[in-house]
């Protein structure tokens, strides 16, 4: 087994692999060439710097997941074990929203407002569709926390972020199990994502906030 040295832990997942995964999920297939507009970037975490900016970035992702799972539950397309899993997913993301909001407010920072999200119709039309999009959202959350974690300056905030990041990892396995992937815990090391990779993954759900590029790599 290829054993990474310390420096390899910080190597983000290659763009090719990440966008291949997105394309396989039939979501954001154009994301490889997507121009992330300033408006979209501002919608994700506002324009604050430092720890507040990072926590607002995380807050936006938690809002995204919370809203998606709430919509999925409201549609009534889930049953059996999937219903239990997604109910907990929604509850957890809500608690994460609350915790991150409290941390920001307690520190005198302003929580970013929740954007309006739009999800592909097929992702809410069936249990399989819900699970499929969840299988993209949760690893994006893991990658976001692992990418942002080393940049958090306040150790109290860093430890708090870890307690949330770990649960996103929990979610990844619960979803793989629903997908029938055996074994569901099948990754020895999890990978960070850059902010740009995370933005590319979630921009499609911000509606008019992003536009396809005419060519070349994405960027703003």
């Amino acid at each position: 087994m290829n054993v990474p040295g310390a420096e390899e832990f910080v190597q983000p997942r290659t763009r090719r692999d990440f966008f291949k995964a997105l394309a396989a999920a039939s979501v954001g297939a154009a994301a490889g060439g997507m121009f992330i507009s300033k408006k979209a970037q501002a919608q994700i975490g506002g324009t604050q710097e430092g720890d507040a900016g990072i926590f607002n970035f995380a807050l936006t992702l938690e809002f995204l997941e919370r809203d998606f799972y709430q919509m999925a539950l409201d549609r009534g397309v889930l049953s059996g074990p999937a219903l239990g899993v997604v109910t907990n997913l929604r509850n957890h993301e809500q608690a994460h929203v609350d915790a991150i909001t409290a941390a920001l407010l307690g520190a005198g920072a302003t929580p970013a407002p929740k954007p309006e999200f739009t999800f592909p119709p097929e992702s809410l039309a069936s249990q399989a569709g819900v699970i499929q999009l969840a299988s993209v959202l949760e690893p994006t959350g893991v990658g976001a926390y692992l990418g942002a974690g080393p940049m958090i300056q306040n150790p109290v905030f860093l430890e708090a972020a870890g307690t949330i990041a770990g649960v996103e990892g929990d979610h990844v396995v619960a979803i793989k199990n629903l997908q029938g992937i055996v074994p569901p815990a099948n990754v020895a090391f999890e990978s960070p994502l850059t902010k740009e990779q995370v933005l590319a993954a979630v921009a499609p759900f911000l509606g008019m906030g992003a536009m396809p590029a005419t060519g070349g790599p994405g960027g703003a």
């Binding site: 910080v10 409290a102 306040n154 307690t163």
Partner: protein, 223 residues
């Protein structure tokens, strides 16, 4: 200034909340205020009510090499445990696939941590002499019960030590492995038939002393 959210518990809040709800001691408030001077927001910060006190201060006197060395011993404990579980023939089919994969992950963590220590020029502790309670490998239920206690210890250790690490590269490594240990915990839940298996809202960190105490009976010491 307190941020009193005043929220009610979400529907279906898991058992972890009731354990955490009493944690409003002065200790973490003091830690948070002293931590605020380090950087970031510059004002006193605190966790939301559902969070535990920060535990990273209990790892701060150790140094990165000692933290990694202890993590290495924890991974050796887990890797040996899962390897013996496979070798005892306790599992078959998908359960065996999962247990064997967890073993492989822990062994990969062992190799990575040992390699990192060596590349830092730090001493690599010798493998511990491990002992497990009688009957550990006698039946799947007993084995999985012990697995269910091991994973939270590793999760709590990585989660607590992360913010005490000085190197940002090592922090990235710790976050990566921490996430995988969380994934293992849920995988063990699945094997134990716990539904839904994603049953924690936050993955708790542990203070250093609690981790030391938890693994001492198996022959693991910080060294």
């Amino acid at each position: 200034m307190d941020a009193d959210i005043g929220r009610t518990s979400p529907v279906g809040f898991d058992q972890e909340h009731s354990r955490r709800s009493f944690l409003k001691t002065a200790a973490w408030a003091t830690a948070a205020i002293s931590a605020a001077g380090i950087g970031g927001f510059g004002v006193a910060t605190r966790f939301a009510d559902a969070q535990a006190p920060p535990n990273y201060p209990t790892y701060q006197g150790l140094g990165d090499a000692a933290i990694l060395g202890f993590a290495l011993q924890l991974e050796r404990l887990e890797g040996t445990f899962y390897a013996r579980g496979v070798d005892a023939g306790l599992f078959s089919g998908p359960a065996l696939a999962q247990i064997a994969t967890i073993r492989d992950h822990e062994m990969a963590h062992v190799d990575a941590l040992a390699g990192t220590l060596a590349s830092l020029g730090a001493p690599v502790p010798p493998p511990p002499n491990l002992t497990f309670p009688p009957g550990t490998f006698g039946d799947p239920g007993t084995f999985l019960g012990l697995a269910a206690t091991f994973e939270p210890v590793g999760i709590g250790a990585y989660g607590g030590a992360a913010a005490a690490l000085e190197s940002k590269d090592l922090l990235a490594a710790a976050l990566s492995i921490h996430n995988v240990e969380c994934q293992h915990r849920v995988a063990i839940n699945i094997l134990q038939g716990i539904l839904p298996p994603n049953n924690l809202t936050f993955e708790p960190t542990l203070p250093f002393g609690a981790v030391v105490e938890a693994v001492a009976p198996f022959g693991v010491t910080p060294g």
